[in-house]
C-alpha cells in the first residue's frame, strides 16, 4: 500500500478556552494567545501516521491560513508527515465554511488521495462543517465522528459516535472521515525529525495555483454573513436555598413543574 495517499486537513487555532472577542470588530482577539494545531486534527494526523506505520502510506498535511500557519506543518513533519501544503492568499481571508471547504477540496483534487481525514471540529469556530463539506464538493462518501477506523481492502470501517450509541459503518475508498479525540492519543514530535529536516519544502498554494474567480472566494464569495458576534453576559445571581436534601429535591421539582420543563405524572 505504499502508493496509498492520505490527506489530513489541519487548522491552526488559538490555544485557549478563554478566547476573547473584540467588542468593536466582533472578531477573535488572537494577540498574545499561543497558536496550536487544532486538537482533533492532530487525532486525524495520528490515524494517518498509524496507517502509514502499519501499511505504508504517503501522508500529506494541508492547512489554509496566514503564512504563520506554517508552524503546524513543521510540527506535522516532526511527527512524521511526508508532505505539507500551505494554502494562503489574502483573497481567501474571511471565507466561510462553504468557501473554505471548496478551496480545500480543490487542493485535495490537485494532490490526489485515497483517504481524507479531518478533525471533527475546530476549537475556535466549533462548526463541524468543513470536513463534511469537503466531501460534498468532491462528491465522495463521508463518515463523521469516528472513534475507531480500520481499513480492509478497498473499504474503510468506522465506528462513529452518536448521542447515546455507537454505529459501525463502512464505505469504499476514496472517502473522507472526520475524527474525534476518542480515536487515539497523538504521538509527540521526534527530536530526530526536527534536526536536519526542519527546512523540508512546504508547497504554497495561492490563488495563482488554485485559480478561483475572486468573487467566489473570501468574504465576498461566502454565503454566510455573520451579523454580530458578542460575548454572553454573566448569568443572573441564583437563589440560595438552605434545607435538607429532601426539601431541596421537592423545591427543584416544584420549580421545574412551574416552568413546565417536566410534565406532571
Amino acid at each position: 500500500m505504499m502508493s496509498f495517499r492520505i490527506i489530513v486537513f489541519a487548522k491552526q487555532v488559538p490555544d485557549t478556552t478563554e478566547v476573547r472577542v473584540d467588542p468593536i470588530k466582533g472578531t477573535l482577539i488572537r494577540d498574545g494567545v499561543k497558536s496550536i494545531m487544532n486538537p482533533e486534527d492532530k487525532n486525524a494526523l495520528e490515524v494517518a501516521l498509524q496507517l502509514k506505520d502499519k501499511y505504508g502510506a504517503k501522508v500529506t498535511v494541508i492547512t489554509m491560513g496566514p503564512p504563520s500557519a506554517e508552524a503546524i506543518l513543521r510540527e506535522s513533519y516532526a511527527m512524521g508527515a511526508d508532505e505539507a501544503v500551505l494554502i494562503t492568499d489574502p483573497l481567501y481571508a474571511g471565507s466561510d465554511t462553504w468557501v473554505t471547504s471548496m478551496i480545500l477540496a480543490k487542493a485535495a483534487q490537485m494532490m490526489g488521495f485515497d483517504l481524507i481525514l479531518t478533525g471533527r471540529q475546530a476549537i475556535d469556530g466549533d462548526t463541524a462543517q468543513v470536513g463534511i463539506e469537503i466531501a460534498e464538493h468532491l462528491k465522495i462518501p463521508v463518515i463523521a465522528y469516528a472513534v475507531d477506523l480500520k481499513i480492509e481492502g478497498e473499504r474503510v470501517i468506522v465506528t462513529r459516535e452518536l448521542d447515546n450509541t455507537y454505529e459501525v459503518v463502512s464505505t469504499r475508498i476514496p472517502c473522507l472521515v472526520t475524527c474525534t479525540k476518542e480515536l487515539n492519543k497523538p504521538r509527540y514530535m521526534r527530536v530526530e525529525n526536527i534536526f536536519g529536516y526542519f527546512d523540508r519544502p512546504i508547497s504554497i498554494f495561492n490563488n495563482s495555483v488554485l485559480k478561483f474567480d475572486k468573487n467566489e472566494v473570501g468574504l465576498v464569495g461566502s454565503p454566510t454573513k455573520v451579523r454580530r458576534t458578542f460575548t454572553k453576559g454573566p448569568k443572573e445571581q441564583g437563589t440560595i436555598f438552605n434545607g435538607t436534601a429532601d426539601e431541596a429535591a421537592e423545591l427543584i421539582l416544584s420549580k421545574l413543574k412551574a416552568e413546565k420543563l417536566i410534565s406532571e405524572q
Binding site: Y188, R190, V191, F195, G196
Partner: protein, 379 residues
C-alpha cells in the same frame, strides 16, 4: 532569551514542554515520596529521541546540539529534578565520553543502543576517599591476558542501580598519579561487578544513587576507553559537559519554583488582598526572576560555547556554580513566600528546595567550582 535559539531549537523546546507537562509533571510527587525511579518516563523519552539529543545521526543520535539537550534538561527539571538528572547523567557523563574517545567498535556496541535509549548510562569516578580529590583513585585495574581486572568501590553513582553501561575510572599505574588513571566501559553483569546499596537522600529521591563494587571484575581489554593513563583527562572534560547539565537542572528547578510562586501570590489572600500586591513580596519575586535570568544566560552561554568547541572548564564551572546557588536561594525563598503551606507536601516547593541542594554538591561541589574558575584566571 528566544533570540539566542534557532528555529529547530524553538520547535524542540515546544516538544520538551509538552512532554514535561504531560508525562513528567504527573509523576513528580510519586517519584519523590516513593523514591520511585520513573522507568516509564525514560522509555517514553527514548521513543521521541531524547536519550541521544546532541549526537550526530550517523552514530545513532538525534542530530541535535548541546544547547537543545540543555533545554531538554531544563524543561524537565521545571517539574522533576530526578527525571532531569537521569537524562543528564546518561547523556553528558556516559554517552559523551564514548562518543569522544570510543573506538568504532565501542560506538557500535555501546553508543548506538545508549542513544536509542535501549541502554541507560552512568559514570563512576567518586570513591569513598576520592570525592573532591578525585585524583586519589583507589580502584585498580590490572591487565591479565585479554582482560583488565578491576578491584575497588565507587560511591554516589547516579543511575547506579538502573544503568546498563558504566564509565568506570581506575588506576592502571599508581606510580604515575593522575596520569596513571584509565577509563573503562563496564557492562552491568560483568563477572565480579556488583551494585551496592542505594542511598536514601534528602532530594532527587527517585534517582538511583548507589555504591558499585568491583571484586576481580573482568573487563575485556577492548573496553579500555581511550588509552591507558588518559582517564583523568577524560573525566575532567566529561565533567565540564556534565556541569552544564547540572546547571540546566538547577535553572529548571528555579524556574519551576518561580512558576509556582507566581500562581500562588495571585491566589493567596491576606489582609483582604492577594499577597502578590504587597511590595515586600514583589521585591522578593523581582530578585528571584532577575537572578534566574542571569543563571540562564550563563548556562546557555556554556552550552553555546560547547557547541562551538570553545568551552573552557571555567565557563562550565561558573554556569553550574551560579545556577545551583540561584536554585537554592530561589527555592528557599519560594518556601518562605508560601509560608506554612510551603513547608507541607501539599505544594511542590518544599520538594524543589530539597532537590536544589544537590546541585550545589554533585558534579563537583561549588567549592571545587571556585578552584576551577580561579585556576583558569590565575595562571
Amino acid at each position: 532569551m528566544d533570540y539566542l535559539l534557532t528555529k529547530e531549537q524553538l520547535l524542540a523546546r515546544e516538544l520538551f514542554r509538552e512532554f514535561a507537562e504531560k508525562e513528567v509533571k504527573p509523576l513528580a510527587q510519586k517519584v519523590d515520596e516513593d523514591e520511585y525511579f520513573p522507568t516509564e518516563t525514560v522509555e517514553k523519552m527514548a521513543e521521541i529521541g531524547m536519550m541521544g539529543i546532541p549526537f550526530p545521526k550517523e552514530v545513532g543520535g538525534a542530530g541535535g546540539d548541546y544547547l537543545t539537550y540543555i533545554i531538554a534538561v531544563e524543561e524537565i527539571a521545571k517539574y522533576c529534578a530526578t527525571t532531569a538528572i537521569i537524562l543528564s547523567a546518561h547523556t553528558s557523563l556516559c554517552c559523551y565520553p564514548i562518543y569522544m574517545w570510543g573506538t568504532e567498535h565501542q560506538k557500535e556496541k555501546y553508543l548506538r543502543p545508549l542513544l536509542r535509549g535501549e541502554y541507560l548510562g552512568a559514570f563512576a569516578l567518586t570513591e569513598p576517599n576520592a570525592g573532591s580529590d578525585a585524583g586519589n583513585q583507589q580502584t585498580t585495574a590490572k591487565l591479565v591476558g585479554d582482560y583488565y581486572v578491576l578491584n575497588g568501590s565507587k560511591v554516589f553513582i547516579t543511575n547506579g542501580g538502573k544503568a546498563d553501561v558504566f564509565i568506570v575510572f581506575a588506576m592502571t599505574d599508581k606510580s604515575k598519579g593522575t596520569k596513571g588513571i584509565s577509563a573503562f566501559i563496564v557492562e552491568k553483569g560483568f563477572e565480579g561487578f556488583k551494585i551496592g546499596k542505594p542511598e536514601r537522600k534528602l532530594g532527587i529521591r527517585g534517582s538511583s544513587t548507589t555504591e558499585l563494587i568491583f571484586e576481580d571484575c573482568k573487563v575485556p581489554k577492548e573496553n579500555l576507553l581511550g588509552s591507558e593513563g588518559m582517564g583523568f583527562k577524560i573525566a575532567l572534560q566529561t565533567l565540564d559537559g556534565g556541569r552544564i547539565g547540572v546547571g540546566a537542572q538547577a535553572l529548571g528547578i528555579a524556574e519551576g519554583a518561580i512558576a509556582e510562586v507566581l500562581k500562588y501570590v495571585k491566589e493567596r489572600k491576606q489582609f483582604s488582598k492577594p499577597i502578590g500586591s504587597f511590595q515586600g513580596i514583589q521585591w522578593y519575586i523581582a530578585d528571584m526572576i532577575t537572578k534566574t535570568e542571569a543563571a540562564k544566560l550563563l548556562v546557555y552561554n556554556a552550552a553555546l560555547k560547547k557547541d562551538r568547541g570553545i568551552l573552557t572548564s571555567a565557563d562550565a564551572a561558573m554556569a553550574k556554580k551560579f545556577a545551583s546557588d540561584v536554585a537554592m536561594e530561589v527555592t528557599t525563598q519560594a518556601v518562605q513566600i508560601f509560608g506554612g503551606y510551603g513547608y507541607t507536601k501539599d505544594y511542590p516547593v518544599e520538594r524543589m528546595m530539597r532537590d536544589a541542594k544537590i546541585t550545589q554538591i554533585y558534579e563537583g561541589t561549588n567549592e571545587v567550582q571556585k578552584m576551577v574558575i580561579a585556576s583558569h584566571y590565575i595562571k
